[in-house]
Amino acid sequence: MKKFAYFPGCSMDSTAVTYKASLEYVAGRIGLELKEIPDWNCCGSTAAHTKNEKLAYSLAARNIAIAEDTYPDLDIVTPCAACYSRLAYAKHAAEDEFTRQEIERIIKRPFKGKKEILNFLDVFSQEDVMQACKENMVRDLSGLKIACYYGCLMSRPRKITKAEDIENPMQMDKIIELTGATAVEWDFKTECCGASHQVDAPRQSRPLIERIFRNAKANGAQAIVTACPLCNMNLDMREKEINEMFSKKYDIPVFQFTEILAIGMGAGAKTSGIHQHFWPAFDLINGVLRANFGKAGK
């Protein structure tokens, strides 16, 4: 149906297995063709731009340059919020002709920087993609209350992301509601989860995760859904630790939005990836599906 140049990012090949599996499943179902950018490299993430501005632009720009060459007609899509941000920054930097030429000199490739950079929320909230998802729904997740967590980098800074609403975005809410699930109104959609500092400044950044769980719970969410490998891992992997650290009893599984879509489209636990979570997620989904099973016929 639609084709994109695809920049997976480093996490997609390692920790984000569930995202990868569910994305591939959903893309297959709705006919989304993702053409991986050949021999892509790390976008530099947070580390590069804290050290060296030119390096940050250039690492990201190499990938865009390859895509420009290989898939001249396709927009670039990336599953990771950090990659999205870095690629979009590089595109923004290229608006300045002097910087663009400097980047070309460094990466030794032609670099126009005109391609659209999209994240998967952008793609899935396109009307025809949404329609295709809707048509492929076979299960009903009614009753499941979800807090959609967008994180920082897909919203901010606005000059890079061109996001409509940076405090209360609605793209993901609309997408997951295709499954019948309810997106709850909550206030930490775009608050930082501190992922970039969880390794090097854990003591200072763990409370950020706790605040997100707290607000999600206070607003009645049973699950949190993300659209980024880093956000997802940060919340999912550390939920247990947070409970111990802050003496809390959060029981809020953390999904990728593609997992929820995959389940709605009929994927099993393995295919959707929900058996691979750190914090157990199977029971919640199973419970919802069982409760809805009787109603399905009507």
Partner: protein, 186 residues
């Protein structure tokens, strides 16, 4: 220590950083909305607002000595809510680069993590979460951090032992070399 305001050794540096970040320092009237919404503020020794104020005073020494510039998560909450759209993350970032050039670093671990991250990229062209975490734990001395999760990761096939590498890894190395020319971090 008493601060003598009319000695403005860091004034030029502060002004240059502000210019590069496209910030008009005088616009800040210290409302504190940045710091109020900053997720990392609790861990910072100087509030983001105070960083801007020190730059207004031209006191870059104190800015570069602070932990705050290393703890900024670049989440951009401050700049979006600021009444004058003051780009604090970029001020922080540029101050951090200046501090690095002078060998000042108040939060060693952050710098270490960034260095290791970039070295794995230099080595493979892609970041390697396993090597990254391992190397960081060894060099930082936080040996067991996040280690509880490793067995589970392997068991659930979340992390596979094989490494990802860019074929044209030399190309990436060249880019890094080129960018590091003429002063490591400019």
């Amino acid at each position: 220590m008493e601060k003598i305001l009319n000695r403005k050794e860091g004034k030029l540096l502060a002004e240059r950083i502000a210019r590069e970040a496209d910030v008009k320092l005088h616009e800040c009237y210290q409302c504190g909305k940045c710091s109020a919404g900053c997720p990392m503020a609790d861990a910072m020794d100087l509030m983001p607002r105070q960083i801007v104020h020190l730059m207004q005073l031209g006191d870059m020494t104190e800015v570069m000595k602070s932990k705050s510039i290393w703890l900024c998560a670049s989440c951009h909450t401050c700049v979006e809510r600021c009444p004058h759209s003051i780009d604090i993350p970029t001020l922080m970032e540029k101050s951090r680069m200046e501090a690095q050039r002078r060998g000042i670093c108040a939060v060693r671990d952050v710098r270490l993590f960034n260095d290791i991250f970039m070295e794995t990229v230099r080595g493979f062209g892609k970041s390697q979460e396993v090597i990254l975490e391992g190397a960081y734990n060894v060099t930082s001395g936080h040996f067991f951090q996040d280690m509880k999760n490793v067995p589970k990761m392997l068991q659930k096939e979340i992390v596979r032992p094989e490494l990802n590498q860019v074929n044209a890894v030399n190309e990436v190395r060249d880019i890094m070399k080129e960018c590091e020319k003429g002063g490591a971090n400019r």
